[in-house]
Symmetry: C2
Subunit: 345 residues, 2 copies
Amino acid sequence: MDATRPQMTLADIARLAGVGSATASRALNNDKGVSAQTRQRVLNVAAQYSYVVSPEAVRLAKGKLGRVAVVAPHLSRWFFGEMVEGIETVFREAGIDVLLYFVGSLDDRRAFFEQLPARRKVDAVIVVGFPVEAAERERLELLNVNIVAAGGQHEVYPNVCIDDYRAGRQAMDHLLFLGHRRIGMIEAVDLDQPTEPSGRSSAYREALREAKIPLDPELVVSAPWGGEEGALAMDALLSLKTPPTAVYAHSDEVAVGAMRSIRRAGLRIPEDISIVGIDDHPVASLVDLTTIRQPVRSQGELAAQMVLTLLEGKTLPDREITVATQLMVRSTTAPPRRNPALISS
Amino acid sequence: MDATRPQMTLADIARLAGVGSATASRALNNDKGVSAQTRQRVLNVAAQYSYVVSPEAVRLAKGKLGRVAVVAPHLSRWFFGEMVEGIETVFREAGIDVLLYFVGSLDDRRAFFEQLPARRKVDAVIVVGFPVEAAERERLELLNVNIVAAGGQHEVYPNVCIDDYRAGRQAMDHLLFLGHRRIGMIEAVDLDQPTEPSGRSSAYREALREAKIPLDPELVVSAPWGGEEGALAMDALLSLKTPPTAVYAHSDEVAVGAMRSIRRAGLRIPEDISIVGIDDHPVASLVDLTTIRQPVRSQGELAAQMVLTLLEGKTLPDREITVATQLMVRSTTAPPRRNPALISS
DNA sequence: CGGTCGACCGGAAGCGCTTCCGTAAACCAT
DNA sequence: ATGGTTTACGGAAGCGCTTCCGGTCGACCG
């Protein structure tokens, strides 16, 4: 029962079962070349002494790790948590261990890329939600492992993500369709990460252009991801001589923050101002926020599956997978009021 | 530069540096018994060929793992993500790898406890946010590793958490202080996890008892964690002949869901109904929800630190650490209206 | 100046497993 | 019956590192 104290080794089991260590190994691993009877005997002995293999020894001997690293800049934000859940689920089934690397700050991030190559402990790495810089790429190369990106475009690595431009257009087109002409945008930026021009931003400009609405620079403000930041950004928009009648936020969290500002300013949603976000964060439905839904968990699953096929030595059918987004109309968007004088009862 | 292809081994480095493998090892590990000059030579060669050790071999040879498992039933929920961030941060600094196990469903969970002992790959495990059953405890024992719990009471393991009863009382006392007498409670339960009576619930009964308010069973409804579920539960409360004038929700997510129901019922918050949650989830401040704040990230950090001291062979100064909670009054709570006829403009 | 003592270093024995290779027995077809 | 396959199995060689156990050798002691 608790004969486990002095960890048994394969050799012990083999001796106890009266076979060679090679045979014991084969029996335990379900390899062929062992008679059913012998195998059973070994299995019994192993069970009896609750033998457990030493993963280190296995890995050393066979040279494969069976481990992948997941690198994410956040965990407490829904998008990332959901993504990691998807990834983990797939790897779990495949019997692969997930090593988690949370690189919140730029420093963490640098440290990670500095360290990782110094210890080849994974067969692959999945980078979640941020673009990889050139220098970092170099370090990654050194590792000589497979790399895939999830939830963020990277022309360099196989990846799965949404079409940011498309998502942005869905949001903008909805607003435009409702009749809005003065639309503000709250651009989300990540202070800790190198920014690259987002499709979500170009969608705004493009949509406006097509609708022949001149671009008013003061209508676009940018804020770090996050509710409080969104609120601040919205305050800026609200303080304009003529505030927008609708706001397109790059994320739901930002949108929810903005909603608070609007409410606090004594304005009503959507009567006075419409607002649309992106993500379909769980909170979106709770606050009845119109948004563009993106399937996050499945992006994670897909990314993990890519890694799996890569690990099998196969080549990817598609180097990039784009998952579809969908407009979820709820009650924060409506046609603009006739009278653009917003402040009124 | 890219001479890394055929991974170099310690032996290679040793040969190249003209020393024995033992010396090379000592040099690389900063052990003593190597002259500064020799050490430098080895280091140079290693750097030149960008040599990296094989962690498997190291672990096999020295018998320690330097890895801990973090087991959590969710990741996409803020509480858990935040917790894991805290844990990861501490371990990162300590040079310990974090193996993530996401056990969403009961099945996953069983599978985890079934599998884990079958492969001793960690030095310790941190269980996040759920009580461990007796059977699972047995499996864990088999592992013969250190265990600590974070964010959930476990008399059995060293743990860090908040005082649920206290938190509940803070919420209830606030409501009571405002003058509410008819207070509903939305109990959060986890379908996938074995439930144990929560301090958050007993706080409700106790507070009422002290305030000499008879307990009305129909005022307590229970719902799984999560906004949608909270909304449903609130609907039940709202359909009572005489609905409560205030509700105490076990979590902010539930509370936010409840707020939607209240709003949709045409009622105003806090004029018609007050509501208070627990957590101080980021969304709480965005929707101006009064709540009881708990420091989640630091709970994670503390738990990780406990593991660290355990790993050093020291004994814990405190087997349990309770972190303080704090009432955050925002604008979803106010004194009850005089007229209990709620439906009016 | 012989001897002792550290400091420095190399050889080699593991760590616990997988797997190659060789052997022996059992099986098949001719 | 006989040569040739298969099938089972054991021995042993690694996998890449740490560490014990000695050896050298110059320094320092009496």
